[in-house]
C-alpha cells in the first residue's frame, strides 16, 4: 500500500469501522467530531493508533485544523513526507 492520501483515508476508515460505535456509512468526507461523535480526547487517542501504523507523530496543534477524515489523511500524508 502506498501512502497516498486516498490510501491513508481508506486505512483510517477501516480502523474506525473496527469500533462498533462508529456509524457504518462513513466516508472520507465524514466529519470526525460531528458525524462520528468523537470528543477531543477520543480524537487524540484515535490519532495515536494511526500514528503507529504510519510511523509518524502528529503535533497536537495540527489536529485543531482537522475536520474530516480526508483532512486527517492529508495531514498524515504531509507529515510522512516531511519525516521521510
Amino acid at each position: 500500500m502506498t501512502d497516498s492520501i486516498p490510501n491513508i483515508a481508506d486505512m483510517i476508515i477501516e480502523k474506525l469501522l473496527a469500533n462498533p460505535k462508529v456509524p457504518r456509512n462513513i466516508n472520507a468526507d465524514s466529519r470526525i467530531v460531528e458525524d462520528l461523535a468523537f470528543d477531543s480526547l477520543a480524537v487524540m487517542n484515535f490519532v495515536m493508533e494511526i500514528e503507529d501504523t504510519l510511523d509518524v507523530s502528529v503535533p497536537l496543534d495540527k489536529l485543531a485544523d482537522i475536520r474530516t477524515i480526508n483532512d486527517l489523511a492529508s495531514c498524515l500524508h504531509d507529515i510522512k513526507a516531511e519525516q521521510a
Binding site: 480526547l41 477520543a42 487517542n45 495515536m48 503507529d52 507523530s57
Partner: protein
C-alpha cells in the same frame, strides 16, 4: 445583551442540566462548611469523612504551620500586593526558595503563586514554537495549558510507556529545536506511578531534557519525601522538578527546582511568574513550617503508606476496579456516568466524601470515584469508608 457570547455553551449546558437532573446535588458545588480536623468536615450539616482532599499528610491543619501563619500575618501583614519582579519579593520568598533548594539538593528554586502556575510558568519559559514537547497522554490540564502557552509543538506518548516515548523521540531526531519530555510522579486521577528511571534512560539516549511534576508525590514517596525520582533513585536524570504546596504541604503555591543556572533568566520571561501577585507572607511562613514537619516527621510518610495499603486492599477485596499501584490516590473505576453519579451521592449521604471525576477529564473515557488517603486517617475511619463503599456497591449491583 450578550450577542451570542454564550451560544457556544449550548452543548455544555445540555450536559450540565442532565447531570444536575440525575444528581440530588451538584457534584461540582460541594461546600465543606468547616473542617473539624484534617479527616472530618461538616458537609450539609453532617460530620463527613474526608477522602477527597489531597491533604496527604494532614498538614492543612498543622498547628505548627497555623501558628507560623498567625505570627507572620501579625508582624508582616496579609499580602504583598505585587509581582515577584516588582514589589512582591519579601525576604520570606527568598528564604523559602533557599529552603526548597536544600530539601531537593538542587541549586535553584522558583516559587509560584499556585501549582497550576508553576507548570504554566516553567513550561512556557523553557520551550517555544521552535521546540517540541513530549507529554504523557494522561498529563494534568496545567501541563497541557502550559504547553499551549509556550507555543511549542506537542507530541503525546502513551501513558507510562517509555518504549512509546522512545519511538516518538526517534521520529524527531532531525528536528532542530530543543526537546523536553514531561511526566508526572503520581498521576492525579488514577494514582499510577511513573516508571521514571526508564524515562530517564530514554531521554538520555535521545539527548532530550526531562521535567517531572511531583505534585502528588512530594512529601509522600521516597525516603526523605522527595518523590518518585528519589524513590527510584534517578534524581540526577531529572532536569526540572515542578510541584505544589497545596497537597502534602497543606497550603497553596508551587515551585520549580533545578540545577540549571539559567533560572534567573527564566524569571524574566515566565509570564505566569511575572504577571501575578506573589504569595502572601503568612502562606510562605506556613509552608516553611510544613516543610519542617515533612522533614522532622518521617512517621507521617509511614502512616500514609500504611493507610494507602489499607484502603487499596479494602477496595480490591470488595471486588471494585482500581489501579494496581498502591499510592495515596486510589480511584475506583465505574462503567457509566449515571452509575457513578448515584454511587457518589450515596457515599456522601452515608458520610464519606470522595471526588467524582467524569470523562473527558478521566483516562479511557470512564468515570472515577477518586479517593485520596491521609496520614491522619485512623484505621477505623478507613475501615468505615471501605464498609460504606461495599454497602453502596452492593446496593447498586456493582459487586455481588
Amino acid at each position: 445583551m450578550t450577542s451570542g457570547l454564550f451560544d457556544k455553551y449550548a452543548s455544555l449546558k445540555k450536559s450540565y442540566e442532565s447531570l444536575v437532573e440525575a444528581s440530588p446535588r451538584n457534584p461540582f458545588g460541594v461546600v465543606i462548611e468547616r473542617p473539624l480536623s484534617a479527616t472530618v468536615g461538616i458537609i450539609e450539616g453532617r460530620e463527613t469523612l474526608l477522602f477527597g482532599t489531597n491533604n496527604y499528610l494532614g498538614l492543612s491543619q498543622s498547628r505548627h504551620a497555623r501558628d507560623a501563619a498567625i505570627e507572620t500575618a501579625t508582624s508582616m501583614g496579609v499580602g504583598t500586593t505585587g509581582s515577584r519582579i516588582a514589589n512582591g519579593t519579601f525576604s520570606l520568598h527568598k528564604k523559602l526558595e533557599k529552603r526548597l533548594s536544600e530539601v531537593f539538593h538542587r541549586k535553584h528554586t522558583m516559587v509560584f503563586s499556585t501549582g497550576y502556575q508553576a507548570n504554566l510558568g516553567t513550561i512556557s519559559a523553557l520551550v517555544n514554537k521552535d521546540d517540541i514537547l513530549f507529554l504523557d497522554a494522561d498529563s494534568h490540564a496545567s501541563i497541557y495549558d502550559g504547553a499551549k502557552l509556550s507555543g511549542a509543538q506537542v507530541i503525546r506518548f502513551r501513558h507510562n510507556d517509555p518504549a512509546d516515548l522512545d519511538k516518538r523521540l526517534a521520529r524527531t531526531k532531525n528536528s532542530p529545536g530543543a526537546r523536553l519530555v514531561i511526566v508526572e510522579g503520581i498521576y492525579s486521577m488514577t494514582g499510577n506511578i511513573a516508571p521514571l528511571k526508564e524515562f530517564v534512560d530514554v531521554k538520555n539516549r535521545h539527548n532530550a531534557s526531562l521535567m517531572v511534576d511531583e505534585a502528588h508525590s512530594f512529601g509522600v514517596l521516597g525516603e526523605h519525601g522527595r518523590g518518585v525520582a528519589e524513590l527510584q533513585n534517578c534524581e540526577d536524570g531529572v532536569d526540572f522538578v515542578v510541584g505544589t504546596f497545596s497537597k502534602s504541604l497543606g497550603t497553596v503555591g508551587g515551585y520549580c527546582v533545578t540545577d540549571h543556572d539559567e533560572i534567573d533568566l527564566m524569571r524574566l520571561c515566565s509570564r505566569p511568574y511575572m504577571f501575578t501577585a506573589s504569595l502572601p507572607p503568612e502562606i510562605i511562613a506556613a509552608t516553611l513550617a510544613a516543610l519542617e514537619d515533612i522533614q522532622n516527621k518521617p512517621e507521617l510518610r509511614t502512616a500514609l503508606q500504611r493507610n494507602s495499603t489499607q484502603l487499596h486492599a479494602g477496595l480490591k477485596e470488595l471486588g471494585l476496579t482500581t489501579s494496581d499501584f498502591v499510592s495515596p490516590v486510589i480511584a475506583v473505576t465505574l462503567e457509566t456516568i449515571p452509575q457513578a453519579i448515584t454511587f457518589w451521592n450515596a457515599l456522601l449521604e452515608e458520610g464519606v466524601y470522595v471526588n467524582l471525576s467524569l470523562p473527558p477529564a478521566t483516562p479511557d473515557n470512564r468515570p472515577l470515584l477518586r479517593c485520596s488517603v491521609m496520614a491522619a486517617h485512623s484505621p477505623e475511619e478507613i475501615a468505615k469508608a471501605v464498609t460504606v463503599f461495599g454497602k453502596v456497591a452492593r446496593t447498586l449491583g456493582v459487586i455481588s
